[in-house]
């Protein structure tokens, strides 16, 4: 595999060097890019969320937003490019090649690094999905640039560098990270951390096609099969409108039934905090927080969750948070809209019954008349 040409590295940043000193080579790097994750004809929604965020960064920088679409030649890949414009891309870099039909690290890394080295973006954003994280690490290492994983906030500084904020120390504090002297500045962002921008019907705009010079014979890894998840196994936590969650404050796995009962009564998804998964009460796909799912429901009800930072960053996008905890000083109350300082084992059944009464057909008819 041929390596793309590496840009000349500038003098290494010394200890304590906190100021950007971009080399002339890196000063050519312009515009904000989003990797559009597309597989089996479906664009991952995180890509559109990132286009919305890229637009904000690009407006501050006075530059353009570009989407990068890779895939097999055909309708699905072209549709992904067309959709990128509807979510705010000014331009799309399109790389169509049969070797890009299924995601594989080798050809995708080559495609991305080649396009970056040719067209030189200053910021490159990818979704922190299994695909995005697999790809971002390889691309950043090949380009010898900085990459910040799982950002919860992005901002452009006065000196026009990207400040990427993420939880650190196992999610107990936040830190803001910069890639001052290298380009592009790369970051991955988890699904649902950024709000979905509105979709606006737009004609296909400027498309720059990139030819990938790679033959299937030269790619060592082969995809033998893809086994889709059974729907029954999937939780739809990330995109649910109402979520009910429980934490260690519930005391035992049996008591988690109270969370599930409330969730099923109001048609919500249920989830939990990280310790609950570590205890084995629920499986990892139900975990909410930095290392689990990020959620943005209209209503989030959590019981027995103290609100460690790694949990908070996963739920702060909720429109309304109702927190139940016996400790009135629990940090969860700092982000809650409605708080109840009481035993979740008593509050949850009372709330479930109240919803049942309120939503029963008998009661609704009465209200309507």
């Amino acid at each position: 595999m041929t390596q793309p040409p590496k840009p000349a590295a500038p003098a290494a940043a010394g200890r304590g060097n906190m100021k950007a000193e971009l080399s002339d080579h890196f000063k050519q790097y312009k515009h904000v890019w989003v990797f559009i994750e597309q597989e089996r004809g479906v664009v991952h929604p995180v890509s559109f969320e990132l286009l919305g965020e890229a637009r904000k960064l690009a407006d501050k920088l006075g530059v353009e937003v570009a989407g990068v679409v890779c895939g097999a030649p055909g309708e699905a890949t072209k549709m992904a490019a067309a959709e990128a414009f509807c979510y705010g891309a000014d331009v799309v870099y399109l790389c169509e090649d049969p070797v890009l039909e299924h995601y594989r690290n080798e050809p995708y890394t080559k495609a991305m690094t080649d396009i970056v080295n040719t067209y030189k973006p200053e910021i490159l954003l990818l979704g922190a999905t299994t695909l995005g994280r697999d790809l971002a690490g390889s691309v950043a290492t090949t380009l010898a640039t900085g990459l910040t994983a799982d950002c919860t906030e992005l901002a452009v500084d006065a000196d026009k560098s990207l400040g990427a904020t993420r939880p650190t120390f196992g999610g107990s504090l936040l830190c803001t990270i910069y890639t001052l002297n290298y380009r592009p500045q790369m970051a991955t962002i988890r699904p649902r951390v950024m709000a979905m921008p509105p979709r606006v019907d737009k004609p296909i705009g400027r498309i720059i096609e990139h030819r990938l010079d790679m033959a299937e014979d030269n790619i060592i890894t082969k995809v033998l099969a893809f086994l889709p998840d059974r729907d029954s196994n999937k939780s739809n936590l990330a995109y649910a409108d109402v979520v009910v969650a429980g934490g260690m404050g519930l005391g035992s796995p049996e008591n988690f039934q109270l969370v599930k009962r409330l969730a099923s009564t109001i048609g919500a998804e249920y989830g939990c905090s990280r310790p609950v998964v570590q205890k084995g009460w629920l499986t990892a796909d139900r975990q909410i927080g930095q290392t689990g799912k990020t959620i943005r429901p209209k209503l989030y009800i959590c019981a027995g969750i103290s609100g460690a930072i790694q949990h908070r960053v996963g739920v702060e996008g909720a429109d309304m948070i109702v927190a139940i905890n016996t400790d009135k000083n629990a940090p969860i109350f700092e982000i809650a809209h409605v708080g109840i300082v009481a035993d979740a084992l008593k509050v949850l059944p009372a709330l479930t019954e109240a919803f049942r009464r309120r939503l029963s057909p008998h009661n609704r008819d009465k209200l309507a008349s």
């Binding site: 290494a12 940043a13 010394g14 906190m18 597989e39 089996r40 594989r104 299994t130 695909l131 994280r133 697999d134 690490g137 390889s138 290492t141 090949t142 010898a144 990459l147 994983a149 650190t168 120390f169 196992g170 107990s172 504090l173 936040l174 830190c175 803001t176 910069y178 060592i220 890894t221 082969k222 995809v223 099969a225 893809f226 889709p228 998840d229 409108d241 048609g267 570590q278 290392t291 209209k298 209503l299 930072i309 908070r312 309304m320 109702v322 940090p331 700092e334 982000i335 809209h337 409605v338 109840i340 009481a342 008593k346 509050v347 059944p349 009372a350 019954e353 109240a354 009464r357 939503l359």
Partner: protein, 287 residues
């Protein structure tokens, strides 16, 4: 066969506390553990060695006290432990870390034999980046298999491996050529209890200690802070929302009174949710 497993010693996150006034991590007295995700990689490596023969070398980069974690890995049954430790590594980000580890693995290849597989966990619980594994693979030009949930056919003579890896919406079955770097998904196996024999051996075993030079690192500008393109400018605790939560009391009411008051408070603030829930209740009743 020879397998290298990269592990990391991390603070037990369940016991990390943040100082309420200074917002700094209170490290004192926090016990350290092997990054839990790495145990799945180690166990998988030990299973392959038990099946195919050969050796497992565990490697870590860290302060001298990281030797504890290596010794722990030896009690589980690893054959050899290498500690990469040097003040030049302080402040390494993921790019600098993967450079140091990759160089050390190249050195391990020369001294102890070329590994067919390099394992890492899917990520660490303190950094949570999942970037070091792919970084090592790229630098050593190894094929990269991340989030592997199952190792299928391993053909040492033919030099090929089949794995299942977690992808978005399903599982990818991949076949590729050795040598590879595998990051192992959690929950894929249960770490064995080490044997008494291994425990005794681990207590006496010598942990190989390499500084940057010993590991074959010549370019120190690629290590530590100097070799790290990312700069941490600010560490802070997040602020709460500016408007305070409305508290609803529980003990002074009947459960019915309390429940009705809470539901009313929710719907008053989020009328759209009431419509959604009524719609859901209708659909539910229709079945």
């Amino acid at each position: 066969m020879h397998i290298v497993v990269c592990i990391k010693q991390v603070p037990d996150s369940a016991q990390i506390r943040v100082h309420p006034v200074t917002n700094t991590i209170m490290r004192q007295g926090v016990p350290t553990i092997i990054n839990p995700y790495d145990l799945f990689a180690l166990e998988e490596a030990l299973r392959l060695r038990d099946k195919f023969g050969g050796e497992v070398t565990v490697l870590t980069m860290g302060p001298p006290m990281a030797e504890d974690s290596l010794r722990r890995a030896l009690t589980y049954g690893a054959d050899r432990a290498v500690l990469l430790t040097d003040r030049f590594f302080a402040g390494s980000d993921t790019l600098a870390t993967s450079f140091a580890l990759a160089t050390a693995i190249a050195r391990i290849s020369e001294v102890y034999g070329k590994p067919e597989i390099v394992f890492t966990g899917k990520q660490t619980i303190d950094g949570d980046t999942a970037q070091v594994g792919p970084g090592i693979a790229k630098r050593l030009d190894l094929l990269q298999l991340t989030y592997v949930s199952k190792i299928g056919k391993l053909d040492l003579d033919g030099g090929s491996i089949e794995v299942e890896r977690r992808a978005e919406g399903g599982v990818q079955v991949l076949k590729t050529r050795l040598p590879v770097l595998i990051t192992m998904l959690e929950g894929t196996n249960d770490m064995r209890r080490g044997s008494m024999k291994d425990a005794l051996r681990a207590a006496r075993a010598e942990v190989v200690k390499w500084g940057a030079k010993d590991a074959g690192i010549e370019d120190m500008t690629k290590c530590g802070l100097r070799g790290s393109p990312t700069v941490v400018k600010r560490v802070f605790a997040p602020g709460g929302r500016t408007d305070k939560a409305e508290f609803i009391t529980f003990t002074d009411k009947t459960p019915i009174e309390f429940g009705d008051e809470l539901v009313e408070a929710i719907f008053k603030r989020q009328p759209a949710v009431e419509d959604d829930l009524i719609k859901h209740a209708h659909e539910f009743a229709a079945y």
